[in-house]
Amino acid sequence: MHIVICIKQVPDSAQIRVHPVTNTIMRQGVPTIINPYDLFALEEALRLRDAYGGEVTVLSMGPPMAENALRKALSYGADRAVLLTDRYFAGSDTLATSFALSQAIAKVGETFGTPDIVFTGKQTIDGDTAQVGPGIAKRLGLLQLTYVAKIASIDLAAREINVERRCEGGMQLLKSRLPCLVTMLEGTNEIRRGSLQEALCAARSQVVKWSAADAGIEDLTRCGLRGSPTVVKRVFAPTPRAEKAERIETAEKTPRDLADELVAALFTRQPELAHELAFNNDA
C-alpha cells in the first residue's frame, strides 16, 4: 500500500506576537512546528503501513525551511519526504495550494507508485480552513472522507475502506473505496517516537525537493498569488474592549461573603438572569 500524507510547517501560533505599533506579525524567534493536526494523520498513516505493509510518503509545500518539518516526519518513521518549493507558490490561498499539492501527488504517484490513500490533517493552525483536503480530493477525483475518527478496516483486495466519520451529533459509519482522501480528526491517536534506527535513517536521508517544473506543473497561472481568487486586503488587530473588568474587592472577606457579593452584582447588572438561572435550576 502506498500512502501519501500532506503536512504543513506552521509558526507555533501560541508564540506569535503582534508589533505594538505597526500591527504586523513579529515572526522573529517564533518556532515552527509540524501542524499539530497533521500528526494525527501521520500516525494513522504509519499504523496502516505497519499493519498492511507498504510505504508512507510525506509531502509538503512551503519555503525551503519546511524541510525541517519533513525531516521530523522521517524521524517518526515515514519512508520518504518530498518538499514542493518554488517562489511561484508564494502567496497561495487554499485553492492554489490544493492545486499545487494535487499536481505533486500525481507526480509522486508516477514516480513512486500510485497512492491508495492520501491523508491530510483536519485543518491547519495558521490557515485554519480545513479546505485543502477537500480541494485535493476534488482535483484528483478521490473519494473524500473528512473528519475521520477511526479507520475501522481496509480490504486491499476488494479496495474497500470502512471508517467512522465525525458529524454533527454523532459518528457516521461509512463504507467507501480506495483510492480516497482522508482528513483525520484530532485526538484519535498519539504520534509515536521513532527508534534509534529510524532516527539515524531520517538524519541521513535526503528530502526530495521539487520545483513547480519538477512536479510537472505547467500552468503557473494557477499557482501562488496569481492562482488565488482570494486576496487579503487588510490586516488589523482586534479592538480592545474599552473598559477593564469591574473588580470585586476581596480584602478581608470570607469566600462566602464574596460569593454573595458576586451573585448580587450579577443580578444587579442583569436582573433577567435571576429568572433564567432559577428556571434552569428546575429543569
Binding site: R17, Q28, G29, S195, L200, A203
Partner: protein, 435 residues
C-alpha cells in the same frame, strides 16, 4: 548489540558540542551528535554575547550567514543602589569595524545555524534523543552510549561530553561530581520585545549597533551577583544571576530579584512598553579554575560548561565552550590521524593544548576571585554601591557646602562603613584576586 560505530559521539548541541562536532566532521571523522532538545538551541532560549574571534577559528566566514543580532559598540558598567546608578561607559566608533569583535545573539537561532553547519560538515545529528548512559567495556573504557530511543547501543572510539553545566551523565558515570551550590550561579532572564526603532532610539544606536549594560549593587541584595541587559534587534535580554548557595542562604527568589531589577528607575524606562516573552532560568558554572574537574579519561573528554570552563569575572562562557570543544576535537583528530587509540594517556593531549590556550590561562588568573566575592559579597554588592551612590550625589549636588567638607564627608562615610583597615584589605584582596 551495537547498532553502529562512529569515530566520535558528541553529547549535546550547545556551543561546545557544536564546535567539537563541526571540527571533527570537517576533518573527515565519522561523527554522531546527540541532543535531547527538540532542535539545537531549543533548551537555550537566552540571548547572549558571542565573541567573534573564537568562532572565527572554527568557521572563519561565519558572518556570511550566522544569525547575529547586533555588534556591540558600547558597554556600560553600572554600580547601583536602590534608586541610582553610577557608571563607567565605553563607546567607540572603532567597534564599527569590518569584522566586529562581539555580537549579541539569540541562542535558539544561533544554535540552529551552528547545527546546520555541523550537518553540512558531514556529522549525523539526532535531536530529541537523550543519552541515558555511557557504555563501558570490562576495562572501564567508555565505548559508546545508550539513548532513550528503542534500539540498542551506539559505539564510538571517543565520547565528547558537551552536555552543559548540570552534566548529569558525566556525574552519573563518576567522571565528575555534581557542581556545588557555591560554584554555580542561577541566572533568570526575560526577553522583552520592542520595535527595532524604539531600541535604537533609547540606546542611541544606528543600524546593527548594540549596547550592553552590566550592573552590580543592591539589586543582588547582598549576594554575589550581576544584572545584565543586552540589546538584540527587536528585543532586549534582561536578567540577573546569583550564586545558588546565596539564593538558598538568603531565601531570596530569583524572580523577585529580576522584578526589582526591571523596576529599578534606571532600567524601567529602557524597557517601557515592551512585551515580555520567554522566561528562562539556567545555571552558570562559576567555580572558576579550582572547580575544573578531570577533563579526560579512557574513551572520553569533557568540554564547555560540563567541564566548568566559564569565566565568571568577565562573563565569558560560550567562547570558552567553543574553544574547549574545538581543542578537544583537534586533539582527537590528531590522535586519529596517527592511529593512536583514545586512551586516557593519549587524550591528555587535549589537556596540554587547553592549558596553553587562553581558556585555562584566564581561569588561572582569576582563581581566587570566586572565593573573594563570595565571602565578601555583602560589602562588594551592597555597602560599596551605596557608598558610591552617596558620594556621587554629594559631589554633584551644588548646595553651598564647601568642596573640602564634601570630600571629608565622603571619606568619613567609607571609613565608617568599612573601617580604614577594612577598606585597605578589600582593596588588596581584590587586587590580588584580579592579578
Amino acid at each position: 548489540m551495537i547498532e553502529e560505530e562512529f569515530d566520535a559521539i558528541v553529547i549535546g548541541a550547545g556551543m561546545s558540542g557544536n564546535a567539537a562536532a563541526y571540527t571533527m566532521a570537517s576533518q573527515g571523522l565519522k561523527v554522531l551528535q546527540l541532543e535531547r532538545g527538540e532542535y539545537p538551541g531549543s533548551k537555550n532560549v537566552q540571548g547572549a554575547i558571542m565573541y567573534a574571534n573564537m568562532l572565527e577559528k572554527i568557521i572563519p566566514d561565519f558572518r556570511d550567514d550566522a544569525p547575529l543580532e547586533r555588534h556591540l559598540v558600547e558597554q556600560r558598567l553600572w554600580v547601583m543602589d536602590d534608586t541610582s546608578h553610577t557608571g563607567i561607559h565605553h563607546r567607540s566608533d572603532h567597534f564599527n569595524e569590518a569584522k566586529p569583535n562581539r555580537y549579541t545573539i539569540i541562542r535558539a537561532q544561533f544554535d540552529k545555524w551552528f547545527s546546520r553547519k555541523v550537518r553540512e560538515a558531514g556529522a549525523t545529528v539526532l535531536c530529541e534523543t537523550t543519552v541515558t548512559e555511557l557504555v563501558r567495556d570490562g576495562r572501564d573504557r567508555v565505548i559508546g552510549v545508550r539513548t532513550d530511543r528503542t534500539g540498542g547501543i551506539i559505539g564510538a572510539d571517543v565520547v565528547v561530553l558537551a552536555e552543559g553545566v548540570c552534566g548529569l551523565l558525566g556525574t552519573r558515570a563518576g567522571l565528575r561530581s555534581m557542581p556545588k551550590p557555591e560554584t554555580v550561579a542561577l541566572a533568570v532572564k526575560e526577553m522583552h520585545f520592542l520595535p527595532e526603532e524604539v531600541i535604537e532610539q533609547r540606546f542611541g544606536l544606528n543600524g546593527d549597533e548594540g549596547c550592553v549594560i552590566e550592573a552590580v549593587g543592591t539589586i543582588s541584595r547582598g549576594m554575589a551577583g550581576l544584572g545584565f541587559l543586552y540589546t538584540n534587534k527587536e528585543s532586549i535580554s534582561l536578567g540577573v544571576g546569583c550564586l545558588v548557595s546565596d539564593f538558598a542562604a538568603a531565601m531570596e527568589s530569583p524572580y523577585a530579584l529580576l522584578d526589582a531589577f526591571k523596576n529599578h528607575p534606571s532600567i524601567r524606562p529602557l524597557i517601557a512598553g515592551s512585551e515580555v516573552k520567554e522566561y528562562a532560568a539556567h545555571l552558570i558554572p562559576e567555580g572558576g579554575y579550582k572547580a575544573i574537574p578531570q577533563l579526560f579519561g579512557d574513551g572520553w573528554v569533557l568540554v564547555g560548561d560540563a567541564a566548568q570552563l566559564n569565566n565568571a569575572v568577565h562573563r565569558e562562557g560560550s567562547n570558552l565552550a567553543m574553544t574547549s570543544g574545538r581543542i578537544a576535537a583537534e586533539a582527537i583528530v590528531q590522535l586519529k590521524r596517527r592511529s593512536h587509540p583514545m586512551t586516557k594517556r593519549n587524550l591528555s593531549l587535549y589537556k596540554i593544548m587547553l592549558d596553553n590556550s587562553f581558556v585555562v590561562k584566564d581561569l588561572r588568573k582569576y582563581k581566587d576571585m570566586p572565593a573573594l566575592l563570595h565571602t565578601n559579597s555583602c560589602n562588594f554588592f551592597t555597602t560599596y554601591p551605596q557608598l558610591l551612590s552617596k558620594a556621587a550625589q554629594n559631589f554633584l549636588r551644588v548646595d553651598g557646602t564647601p568642596k573640602i567638607d564634601k570630600e571629608k564627608a565622603t571619606t568619613a562615610a567609607f571609613v565608617k562603613a568599612r573601617s580604614r583597615w577594612g577598606l585597605v584589605s578589600d582593596a588588596v584582596r581584590l587586587a590580588c584576586a584580579w592579578r
